[in-house]
Amino acid sequence: MSAGLAIDAALALVLPVLAWAVVATPDLRKAIVLFMALGLVAALAWARLAAPDIALVEAAIGTGVTGALLMSCVPWAESLTPASRRARADLALAGALAVVACLGWAIRALPEAGPGLTPAVLGALEVSGVEHPVTAVLLNYRSYDTLLEIVVLVAAAIGIDAVLPDDDARRRLAPPARSLVGVLSHLLVPGAVLVAGFLVWKGAHAPGGAFQAGAVLAAGGILLLFARRLRPVPFAARALRGALLAGPLLFLGVAVAPLVRGGRLLELPVAWAGVLILAIETVLVVTIAIVLLMFFPARVLASSRAPAATVEDPP
């Protein structure tokens, strides 16, 4: 057991140091690469903590998509005027240390073993329509949170479209040139689609589900975007908006149905629970994938094509 503890101690030590490296590195590109490394090392910690679901989502979304997003900002990041004249590093350090000290004191004061809600979750598992407890919590017990979370995703999509409308930036996209990314996408994209399908199906009785599948699918899509195989569909296109909103609207439909019969919001009938959850998850995968792809609108791709392209070429 001491070997396990040794690994835990090592990981527990490495993570904050790596985090400090990410935040303190002067060069933005290096910081982003370190950020992705931090995400991958963290995946080990999630494994040690027996949290496979989180490991999957953190790796796919927390590190993959976020990393790609941050990397796409590098070309124009330097031209931004800083937020405030003098960075209050010392004040922030004092504040952070104080906060960490208080929170540490509270964590140490927590009782050694906390039962949590495991007994309750496992007790009601048969009625929930799925075997995997995390999926049961996500899509049955606390499905209201998930519904609001999907709406948050849609809000982000609207916000991005409002802030960076994709007018005619798509015209300036270069034609698909042969590039390493192009070749790579031939190999990886089919695999991504397969993995996504598998994750959705597995979600019912093992770590998996809509978020992981959506993220993997989006990863494939992002590859195609950067390889110019996939032209970003403008948000104005009704088809895209239809596909995007199919998930949330179906979810809302399932939520409201019991209300009509005097039942409660999101009360899944026991017999149909499994099927409904699977249906919702499948449609949500499409929604999540589209929204994650929308985080890379045409304007971002257009300007990041020319490596030396600074922001001088007018928007």
Binding site: D145, L148, G159
Partner: protein
Amino acid sequence: MTEPAWVAGVVVIPLVGALIAVLAGRRAAPIAVVTAVGAAVAAAALVRQIARDGVVEHAVGGWAAPLGIALRADGLSALFVAAVAVVGTAAIVYALAHPGTPHRFHAAWLLGWAGLAALAVSADAFNLYVALELLTLAGATLVALASEAAALRAALRYILLALAGSLAYLFGVVLLYAAHATLELSALGAAVTPGPVTAVAIAAMVAGLALKSALFPLHGWLPPAYAGAPAASAVVLAGLLGKASFLVLVRLWFEVVPPSLRPDAGLLLGVLGAAGALWGAVLALRQTRLRRLLAYSSVGQLGYLFLVFPLGTGPALAGAVYLVLAHAAAKAALFMAAGSIERACGSDELGALRGLAPRMPLTFLTIGLAGLTLMGLPPSGGFVAKWLLLGASLETGQWWWAIVLVVGGFLAAAYVFRVLRLAFLPAAGAAAIARAPRGAELPALALALVSLGLGLAAAPPLALLGAGP
């Protein structure tokens, strides 16, 4: 057929409306109007239901707490949802009549509406976190619809500070869940015992929510955001979204925070609130642009809300909630008026307002009526709130808050009359005035009259808050 679950309907209707509005893209306006009417009907039904049955519970998904998420609607949530419906509908009508409003406003605002309704009726700590995040995104989008660098910087600062606040709040939720294995507010309130975990968790949650509601000295992001955003966005931001975090803090304070922690933490929040009230008013006095003046006035009025923490429950809580309602209507009306003036004479510089009254009488009547609430002068809703807070501070012997209220009232009168007196000055030059569309002036006047009505018909809402005569 049993009474439909209005407590769920109030959230679902704006949600559905928002999604369909996104689907409709440019033709979102008619859908926004239909949704507003539907949500308003649901809000009215909820108010009637709560007036009749008292608190309404609703276990989402059929799972009772602590496993499932509990929705609970009491007087406070019903009144806030009603305020959101009234101000929200007026904002949509204003957006339609105000030519400068981007068409994406409707989808973003309906999402904000759903977030506000979800927040008002939720009794689950983590669910409140998700609702707050939805509001942050909707709010940031509303601000970022503008194109000036200042507004975009404000939107960025708004997102980042809101994220920091949410993380702090979430850390508190995590600690409380770890200690008591439940996320339901009243269960937490019962289980919580004074100790390091509770103290630190409450401190983190309160700090996070205070940061998100722009309590002094963390209010820097608010004025540029409200002044820079498009007119219709500023209306809903200043009127409603700005109060969401405060309402979560009130629910947390009176349902979870153990009474032993309240006195000293309450004093700190009260002092910061008082400082914010006076600082906001002083700065509002020194502004030369109408919207920045109104934005700093919002910082000031928020300061008064925080006086509820040192003053405790009963009339003080009713007073603070009443100020939320009255200020929502009044400030929304004022920002609509500011938008109309900006539209009519190109800029909201106070100088441009000279002698504008004869050409825009309704707008200046709106500013006058809504200004009453800011000053806390009868017969406005603001006065009723000030009266309740004043009474509470004198009854509990904390007379210093009474002084803050009265001095704040003088300062507010100073900056409101600084605007109103311009109406009596003869116009400087024959400034070419593009008459503001009458359609934009009517919702503003309607909201100003609502804030006045709150001042006269105070008994029914106060009865709903459990502080009836």
